[in-house]
Symmetry: D2
Subunit: 355 residues, 4 copies
Amino acid sequence: MGSFYGENLRLTVFGQSHSPAVGCTLDGIPAGHAVDIDRLRLFLQRRASRGQAWTTARREADEPEILGGLFRGRTCGAPLAIVIRNGNVRSEDYEQLKGIPRPGHADLTAGLKYGGAQDYTGGGHFSGRLTAPLCAAGGVCLQLLEEEGVTVISRIASIEDVEDEGPLTASTADKPFPTVSDTRGAQMRERIALRRSQGDSSGGIVECAVLGLPAGLGDPMFGGMENRIASIVFGIPAVKGVEFGAGFGAARSTGSVNNDPFTVEDGRVCTVTNNAGGILGGITDGMPLTFRCAFKPTPSISLPQQSVDLERMEVTELRTGGRHDPCVVPRAVPVVEAAAAIAVYDALLGRKKEL
Amino acid sequence: MGSFYGENLRLTVFGQSHSPAVGCTLDGIPAGHAVDIDRLRLFLQRRASRGQAWTTARREADEPEILGGLFRGRTCGAPLAIVIRNGNVRSEDYEQLKGIPRPGHADLTAGLKYGGAQDYTGGGHFSGRLTAPLCAAGGVCLQLLEEEGVTVISRIASIEDVEDEGPLTASTADKPFPTVSDTRGAQMRERIALRRSQGDSSGGIVECAVLGLPAGLGDPMFGGMENRIASIVFGIPAVKGVEFGAGFGAARSTGSVNNDPFTVEDGRVCTVTNNAGGILGGITDGMPLTFRCAFKPTPSISLPQQSVDLERMEVTELRTGGRHDPCVVPRAVPVVEAAAAIAVYDALLGRKKEL
Amino acid sequence: MGSFYGENLRLTVFGQSHSPAVGCTLDGIPAGHAVDIDRLRLFLQRRASRGQAWTTARREADEPEILGGLFRGRTCGAPLAIVIRNGNVRSEDYEQLKGIPRPGHADLTAGLKYGGAQDYTGGGHFSGRLTAPLCAAGGVCLQLLEEEGVTVISRIASIEDVEDEGPLTASTADKPFPTVSDTRGAQMRERIALRRSQGDSSGGIVECAVLGLPAGLGDPMFGGMENRIASIVFGIPAVKGVEFGAGFGAARSTGSVNNDPFTVEDGRVCTVTNNAGGILGGITDGMPLTFRCAFKPTPSISLPQQSVDLERMEVTELRTGGRHDPCVVPRAVPVVEAAAAIAVYDALLGRKKEL
Amino acid sequence: MGSFYGENLRLTVFGQSHSPAVGCTLDGIPAGHAVDIDRLRLFLQRRASRGQAWTTARREADEPEILGGLFRGRTCGAPLAIVIRNGNVRSEDYEQLKGIPRPGHADLTAGLKYGGAQDYTGGGHFSGRLTAPLCAAGGVCLQLLEEEGVTVISRIASIEDVEDEGPLTASTADKPFPTVSDTRGAQMRERIALRRSQGDSSGGIVECAVLGLPAGLGDPMFGGMENRIASIVFGIPAVKGVEFGAGFGAARSTGSVNNDPFTVEDGRVCTVTNNAGGILGGITDGMPLTFRCAFKPTPSISLPQQSVDLERMEVTELRTGGRHDPCVVPRAVPVVEAAAAIAVYDALLGRKKEL
């Protein structure tokens, strides 16, 4: 039971790569807030593959249909239910793989867990396809956060060892390849193209910042903003690490360097630096909330790999077909924003209970 | 509301640094399992300060009292309730700090969140003291996991830039300074001693591995083992990053290098390498589950720091008293084990529902 | 946030009376269990109006579409997602009622809660229409329970003061009017017809029994079977009371009469009587689990009623149109079964964690 | 896992009848609210046995100790933790009963569930003793509700067939025997005395009303006020039925009689009658929220009863010792208030998220 997130919101994400549809239900949104479907559609298109060099050949319309929760363009208190039809599926691509798990994928573990009953076509419920309804839910939360003056921005921080340059201070959403430095972005695209030509794939890092957050969000201990955000972003396939503020860098540092001195600006306390990533004791301090997610390289590669024929229990060589991204990081950027928006909006609702 | 963790277990951690006691309740433990209080006491002593050079001068007895949940030495189905009395508290150390938040601490954010009603003495509910009841709950889970053939081991992986050597394959629990390489451990201690002499503090990394886990634990999406572990370990004060397996290293890698090839050993499928940290699609694959936590340097340092006098809203210099560790990492090692044990045992109970 | 139920399952029910669809998501069902869609469809038809004298004129196809969670006819571990399209809606019937709340309905309270943003057409999310997806979820649980040897039966126990005769020992599902005594059923139908002709409506009681339950389901205190069942059946519109076993009758009784003596049958302990309704200390004892739900009379009546014009804040007379059942009790019978099945299956999954 | 309640609060009740203590943790209470320990103590004394004719001979001091969550008399944001020591226990009374379950008690089902590991002394975690920490949690909520202008009142509505007279409009808390009519109260006491002399026990009904509630609390479907209250009050041992407003009486009624006409008073909409018990569609309408709980007769009676010797699996006669109330209803009155207060305060916090 893992397709569920939230404390003040309750999100369920459903569907499989090749089932009739994917979708989500999102209960707990206050009534009376406008949801702009056109903007939601545009947000979903940032995630959708658009035939670029770095994306899969599978075209997905990603047209969201709202089945419930809206009334005349506004939230009405009932759970939001959004469905996105699947189409353009080629299940036969996967038939040959049934008995030979792909390294780095959930094929083996899903089989062990579900005793062979799992939907293995297209990765089933473990497919990156499930990030579409996550984006639908997050896209709505982004609109709701905007009403509160909160915005979420992000960028590709690195592809393999190619790092972006300059601080993340503004949205990169209007760029086809969302980096701050276009030069570095071009180098990243080259690297991805190289891996594609080699039948290989690339890992990378997405950096995200939430701006305009009020201080006081989040809770001590297990309800901290770090816990809340980590417990949703690890739900994005391929994420293997999360760090906040200086993160793993802080572990190499000293207190005198890493502590953020307090100062006063515009009549409120803020910090001179932001190594804390805007979070102290799990609770927002009013500075930008910043975090970075490490994505492993797409496990789907066309290079031959060692696997096991599960029927014969013998080592065998696997060559995979199917259509896959040589690097998921570019398409993951809006997904990370969506996940952050859900976690932050959930915390924001929780904050209201205290006031 | 953050002092709560669990899906199949329900853990609540309570108390403040200077309240009469800290403690925990843990509901959902199956009945009939022996709990050895002496072993629990020994486990708690690994966390307690023992007057070593790298720990605070505050001595804590950390004597657990079981108020409920046991009957004649075995779990009886009722919630486990454990209380650890606080003693040796010097609240007056904190009175002067009331209006001047310590950088890197939760003083500011707790004040903003609770409107001044927070217990600020000793850090209140945000104190590292709360890791004692976390260890009490985790210490019980460690015993329960042992019955299932599961063990949890860990070590200090680094202090600042001093890294331990060699792989983590066995417990370091019997060492006074838990590293694999004693030479490196000595270097780390030197570094900590240096920072103490400078009135400064050190960050570091704790590495943890769960051995003997059955395959099939964890769930897709938000119920993955990464999500479950991250959402509890970020509840340990000072943790700012978590990575699984190759973690952030995977983000610099390629699919052909990072994918773990499958092979067959002793009649079951396993992987040749373990970059996945034993988790594919959120679900254990039967390999060791490995993760690393980045701890920021203890924010409490005796060097003067810039802060703000909240009453006057003016920048001021802060010099802190109180008694603190120059590095929390050594004492955090059993805390990380405890947190991992709780998350893993919770997932193990969840797994039973499917079978 | 109320459209959510479950501890080991996670059920979300979505949709409004006049939104594009109603539906549900149900996470936590173990993989590998066959779900027979035709049987599910038949179960839904027991709830659907079929043009009988005692039902609304609105015809609903109630055709369930499974969007996710099944793979080749079996549960696959992913959340089950079921959608039932709405059709045949006449929203204009409700426009006139917008400013004048119907007595006994949620019109007033929904307006107060949602500040006017609620979907008021057809009762919105408060409509009896939402029992269709509840039946869809429950219909699946009934099939899963059957695999475990558990069956759920029910009947109309009374309509107003007309009571059914004889004990409930077998399913009444194949009867058009589900009572044990057909004579009493005919009298009940007459009463309903009378109320319809008067422009009035009738209350009644549904009795339900769960047979074949293993002993040991449920938990102490708030996780008892009574709590679990009550917290779902009060989600059925118009339920105003729930009692288990002898229920309110036990309150008029004495211990020597009400206590169920233990005896031995077929090598296991059972009780001679069943005043406890199969539940002791919240936990099943292996006897039939029995309960009764009180349904208030349908609030929609065509007799003129006193209400308030909310714009003018003046008392006014209300005459309602729309299409409604003069008595919801007959159609509620499968809904109560569905709710019981969900609660019981959830408890059954929870029981597995202990074993 | 049942000793847990709450959506916006998180209550865990722990302890057994003869364990060192009983207690509770309550997370989610906003900071800054005064808690008067003396008033809490007085509230607990309403539940405690005081040597009256209708209570057990066991004297319990019921002295609450606050271990965490308060700072200088006010809630501080950390979980409230309250412990009440057990004393005056005579476990040996229960040794003889180990193998012979008491009819009407949880002895049998606890044994089946926990496989013999349950704490059977004094009823263990199933004991009425656990209502002491429930009252502690509820007593705090009552104080918090008072700040919001909400009060909870209740009375004994009946003992067996002896019914109280007159409506419940004011607190009966200052009466030694809490009925509206003292004459009827005297008759009830006589009945209880009679049953005691017969070695028997009496059932009864507690009626409760929550006054001053704002409209708009509660949620549709499973989050309705009925669901919320039912799911906590069934956690009080011996409760077998719950009804709201007209309750089971509504099932015998017609819509024209049962619907509460709307009217306008003091500029707001209210209802002329209150058959709905202040709840429409699960949501408060601003009228008093009223409900009644049916308590079965205390299962502990001294008359001989038929039970089973579990070792020999033979029917046997049971004569019980121990010290028990011949009727739990009088002492249950504050417990019902406490449970209602917790449920209502939880809903009140949830309401704030929407505003």
